[in-house]
Subunit: 364 residues, 2 copies
C-alpha cells in the first residue's frame, strides 16, 4: 500500500533530522551545516554586516527556510547587548481613562514592529521598580512612559537607567528625558475660537476629573488656563466645571452650573470623550437640541466625534500621531544620537466643524 507517496513536507524533514531533536528549534549551526558554510556566514547573511556571494546567500536562505530557522532572541541579546525590546509603561487600572488609550498603544506596537522591536507591557502602578527590573535584567533596552504626571517618581529612576526613554506628557522636571506632548493649550484655544466666531457669548468647559487631577496632569491645567485666557481675549464669559463625584450623579449635580446661560448663546466644551457623552445626554434631558439650542464642541478623536448624532465639532488629540512621534524620537536615541533632550509638541490638525454647533451669524 501507499506505493506512491507525495514528496515529504518540510516539517517532516525537520522531524527527521537528528540534531534539532524533536520539537527543538533549528539553530544557526544547523543552518550553517545544511548550507555547507560557517556559522558566522549565517550570521552575516542575517545582519548584512559583511558582503556575501550571491550564491552563498541563496544557499543559506534556502537552508533557513527548509529548517524553519528563527534566531534565538535570548542568545542575540546576550551576545549583542541589545534586546530589541521596548518597555511600555501605561496605566491600566480601574480608573484608566478608557476613552482614547487604545489607539496610543496600538500605534506604539505597530511602530515597534516596523523596526523589528517587541513591546513588553508594564503598568504604571509598578512605579520605578518596574523600570529597574526591566532595565536591570536586560529585558528591554528602551522605555516609553505614558500617563506621566507633573511630578512623577518614575522619572528620576528612568533618567538613571542609561537607556533611551521617551515620555508622554510634560512633567515639571523632565530629568533630561525626551518627551512628546499634545498642545492641549492650542486645542483649547481652537475650541474657544470656534465658539466665539460662531457668535456664542458664554462658554462652559466640562471635565470629568476632580479638580485635584488638574494639578497632577499638566494637560488638564493647561487646557483650562488656555481656554480661560482665550475666552477673555474673545470677550466671552467662561466657567470651568467638573463633576463632583463619580458617575452620572456627580455630573448631574453640576448641571445647573453648566446650563445657566442656556438661553443666551451657550457653547459647551467637553474635554474628554466620556464627558462628551454626558453633555449630550444632559442637553437632551433638558430638551435642548444640539446645534440649535446649544452648541457642543469636544476634544476627542474624529471617530468618537462621528459616533454622535449630530456629529460633534471636535479637535482630535491625535493619539496616533503622538505615538508615531514618540517612537520616532525613541529610535533616534536608540541608534544613538547625542542631541540635547527634545520636546515634540504635537499641534492639533485643526478643528472639524460638524453638526453640534450653531452659527449665530456673528462670524467674522
Amino acid at each position: 500500500m501507499n506505493p506512491v507517496r507525495p514528496p515529504r513536507l518540510v516539517r517532516s524533514v525537520i522531524m527527521d533530522r537528528d540534531h534539532p531533536s524533536g520539537r527543538g528549534q533549528a539553530t544557526s549551526k544547523d543552518v550553517a551545516a545544511a548550507a555547507g558554510v560557517a556559522q558566522s556566514t549565517v550570521s552575516y547573511v542575517m545582519t548584512g554586516k559583511r558582503s556575501v556571494t550571491a550564491d552563498v546567500r541563496r544557499r543559506v536562505e534556502k537552508a533557513m527556510r527548509d529548517l524553519d530557522y528563527h534566531p534565538n532572541a535570548g542568545a542575540r541579546a546576550l551576545r549583542g547587548a541589545k534586546t530589541n525590546v521596548i518597555a511600555l509603561a501605561v496605566h491600566l487600572g480601574a480608573d484608566a481613562d478608557v476613552g482614547d488609550t487604545l489607539p496610543y498603544i496600538d500605534t506604539i506596537v505597530e511602530e515597534a514592529r516596523n523596526r523589528e522591536y517587541e513591546v513588553v507591557l508594564l503598568t504604571t502602578d509598578e512605579g520605578p521598580g518596574g523600570l529597574q527590573r526591566l532595565a536591570g535584567r536586560r529585558v528591554a533596552d528602551a522605555f516609553v512612559l505614558m500617563d506621566v504626571r507633573t511630578r512623577d517618581d518614575r522619572l528620576a529612576t528612568a533618567a538613571d537607567l542609561g537607556c533611551p526613554v521617551v515620555l508622554f506628557g510634560r512633567p515639571a522636571d523632565s530629568h533630561g528625558l525626551d518627551a512628546v506632548d499634545f498642545d492641549t493649550g492650542r486645542a483649547a484655544a481652537l475650541l474657544v475660537d470656534e465658539l466665539a466666531y460662531t457668535g456664542h457669548r458664554h462658554i462652559v468647559v466640562v471635565g470629568d476629573s476632580p479638580e485635584a487631577d488638574a494639578l497632577e496632569f499638566r494637560f488638564i491645567s493647561e487646557f483650562h488656563s488656555s481656554a480661560r485666557v482665550r475666552a477673555q481675549e474673545r470677550g466671552v464669559t467662561i466657567d470651568i466645571v467638573h463633576r463632583e463625584s463619580n458617575g452620572w450623579a456627580g455630573f448631574e449635580s453640576v448641571a445647573d452650573r453648566i446650563l445657566v446661560h442656556r438661553d443666551d448663546r451657550l457653547g459647551i466644551i467637553a474635554r474628554t470623550p466620556r464627558v462628551t457623552e454626558w453633555v449630550v445626554q444632559l442637553a437632551r434631558l433638558h430638551g435642548l437640541v444640539l446645534g440649535r439650542d446649544v452648541s457642543v464642541v469636544a476634544l476627542c478623536t474624529d471617530s468618537t466625534a462621528r459616533e454622535f448624532d449630530p456629529a460633534i465639532t471636535n479637535v482630535s488629540p491625535e493619539p496616533r500621531e503622538l505615538s508615531r512621534r514618540a517612537m520616532g524620537v525613541l529610535f533616534e536615541r536608540i541608534v544613538g544620537d547625542d542631541q540635547p533632550p527634545r520636546l515634540e509638541l504635537v499641534q492639533p490638525r485643526g478643528i472639524t466643524r460638524r453638526g453640534s454647533t450653531t452659527d449665530h451669524g456673528l462670524s467674522e
Copy 2:
C-alpha cells in the same frame, strides 16, 4: 580638604569596580567574587534548587544588594530554555470594543507579574505570523489569545507552537487548546429572568454590532439564542435589534423597533456598555424615565453600571475573574500538566438589581 567623607554610596562602589565597567551591569560572577563563593552557588541561592548554608546565603544576598545585581534575562532564557515571558495577543485596532478591554489586560499583566513573568504585546492583526515569530525566536514561551473568533486562523498555528496557549472565547474548533469563556448564555438568561420576574411583558435585546459579527463571535450568538429561548419559557415576547450603521444615527434608525412596546411593560437588555449609554439616551430622548416608564438591564461591569443615574441593573462579564482563570490554566500548563484540554466557563456572579428597573408587582 574633605577630611571627613561620608561613607561611599553603593553606586560609587559599583563605578569604582573595574570589572563591571562603567555603566555595565554586575554579573553573577561579580557577585560570586564579592561573596567569595562559586558562581554556581549564586545561582542556587536564587533558584533554591540546592540547599545553602545560612551564612553563605547571607553573604551572597548582601553582595547582590551591594552590587545592585539583576540576573540577565537573555542568558537565563538561553541556558534555561525558559523565557519567563508570555505573549498576549489582543485586538487594539480602531474598531476595538474599547468598553471593557482594559481590565482584562490589567489583570493578565498583574497575574503574570505575580509569577515573575513579563508580558509582550501582540496585535490580533499580526495573525498567525506573530505567534510564530515570538515562539520561533524564543521570545515568549506561553500565549494568551484574546478576541478569538468562531473560526480563527491563528488557532491551527497556535496548537502547533508546542507551548502552552490559552484562549479567551470558544472557537468552533479549539484545536485541543485550553480556553476560558464567560457563560454569556447564562447571563442572557439571568437578564431575561429579571425582567420577566418583575412583570415585564416585552423584551428587546440591543447589540451594537451588525448581525454579521454574531457569526464570528460565539458569545454574541449565544447571548441572542439563550435570551430567545428563555423569553419563550417565561412567556414574554422578545425582539433582537442591533444598529444598522456606525454611530448614533445607525442606532436611532432602529429606535422604533426598540420602543414599539413602550407603553406595555417594556424591558430592554443592553449587551455592551456602549449600547447601554445609547439606550439610556434614547429613553431620555423619548421622555421615558428609567425604572418607571421603561426598564433597562445590561451586560456590563459593576463600575460601568454605577456610572449611570439611576444605576443600571446589570450582570457583570467578570473580566478580572476571566483573566485570573485564564492565567491559572496557563500556568498549570507551564509547570507541565498533561490533563486533556480544559474549558473554564466562568459563571456570572449573579444579577445586581439597581434603579433602572421597575417592579411591576408580578414577581413570583
